[in-house]
């Protein structure tokens, strides 16, 4: 898969704002960013209200996803261009959903909202209205999603990539440093997991690094075994969607899964092995 099949540049986006069959979607946890100004024609998806099940601790199912996209006026044959804040974490997470539910053509806007803002490109507060569609999502593709038992079985067997910050990996911090640290789960990482913070895959302006730089990062520096399957995780699965995108969509590794339960689930499990400190640890 080529970079241009999965990523669009800000210049491309600006030239295709009115192209029929191209739908821009802003994905954020806090949609006040969208309301204060968004890319012209973009519809919004709220990470929490639209993509998470309101009752169970899980994300929306096939029917809920179909209903959401129908309401937003997105058709099965549209090319969806996703972007958002936080260096595209939520957009990457949504990208993963679109792939989980079998959408054919979906891309990320490289650099997301951050690059768009730093470039001082136009945003608008115009209300976007699209006609509803009859979107039909495909059954969830489990080739892309890892669950806890599979993760525990992967210790010392598959590549496990921990994409949190080095201090979270080592167990010195329990959450990203912009959040308070009071947590119920244990600190540390899954034994044998390699530490490759998500941020290493991105440039300072939020765009993804080149494929050459990414391959050097994961294989050269971190020691990812290219002959093995890979599972990426973080704290709740957003930052690891970003890395999942880099590994599967940009570098083209076939068997890469995102463990969306991530550390909030794993670090709360009774009896599972945990490694502390800066080293991966052993099985």
């Amino acid at each position: 898969m080529a970079r241009e099949d999965v990523l669009v540049t800000a210049d491309w986006a600006e030239e295709n704002l009115d192209t029929p069959g191209v739908v821009f979607v802003e994905v954020d946890e806090d949609t006040s960013a969208y309301d204060s100004g968004h890319i012209k024609g973009a519809v919004k998806i709220d990470w929490k209200d639209d993509l998470q099940d309101p009752v169970r601790r899980d994300f929306v199912n096939q029917e809920q996803f179909s209903q959401l996209l129908s309401e937003r006026g997105i058709a099965n044959d549209d090319t969806v261009v996703l972007y958002g804040g936080n260096n595209n974490w939520f957009a990457a997470y949504a990208y993963w959903y679109f792939k989980l539910y079998g959408h054919e053509s979906v891309k990320l806007l490289d650099g997301g909202r951050k690059k768009w803002e730093l470039d001082a490109r136009d945003v608008t507060t115009e209300v976007v209205k699209r006609e509803p569609t009859n979107y039909v999502a495909k059954p969830l593709n489990w080739d892309l999603r890892a669950k806890r038992d599979e993760v525990e079985a992967a210790i010392g067997v598959k590549n496990l990539i921990d994409v949190r910050s080095p201090d979270e990996y080592a167990g010195r911090l329990l959450a990203p440093a912009h959040l308070p640290q009071e947590q119920s789960q244990r600190a540390g990482h899954i034994p044998t997991a390699l530490s490759v913070p998500w941020s290493k895959a991105a440039n300072e302006d939020g765009t993804f690094k080149s494929e050459e730089e990414l391959r050097e990062l994961y294989v050269g520096e971190a020691g990812l075994d290219e002959t093995k399957s890979t599972i990426a995780y973080c704290r709740i699965g957003e930052r690891s969607s970003h890395t999942w995108f880099a590994l599967r969509e940009l570098l083209g590794y076939e068997d890469v899964k995102n463990y969306d339960g991530s550390w909030t689930e794993y670090g709360s499990l009774v009896g599972v092995p945990i490694a502390l400190g800066d080293e991966p640890g052993t099985k």
Binding site: D30, N86, E117, L173, A177, S199
Partner: protein
Amino acid sequence: MSDSCAAPDQDLALPASVDLEKETVLSGTVVNDEGELVQGAYVRLLDGTGEFTAEVVTGEGGQFRFFAAPGKWTLRALSRYGDATGEIEAARGVNETKLAVSR
């Protein structure tokens, strides 16, 4: 506790649930050449080895806030007015910094 990893609104007051006896807070404001508060600046926290740790976006008050640990940290701000870098030796409690961005 937030359900996601996104940065909360940086203009809000420090939540009452935050225990300053335990937390190490790095906070401050971003200003431009004219001394005006900069909204929408991207502020990153880098650890003692220069590794990325977290990033927030300043709100209307130009404010940012991180929850870290005592020690040496670097703050890096990017904005449409330019960039800034600041070093900080943090202790438990609140540590205030001002970042002046310029081209």
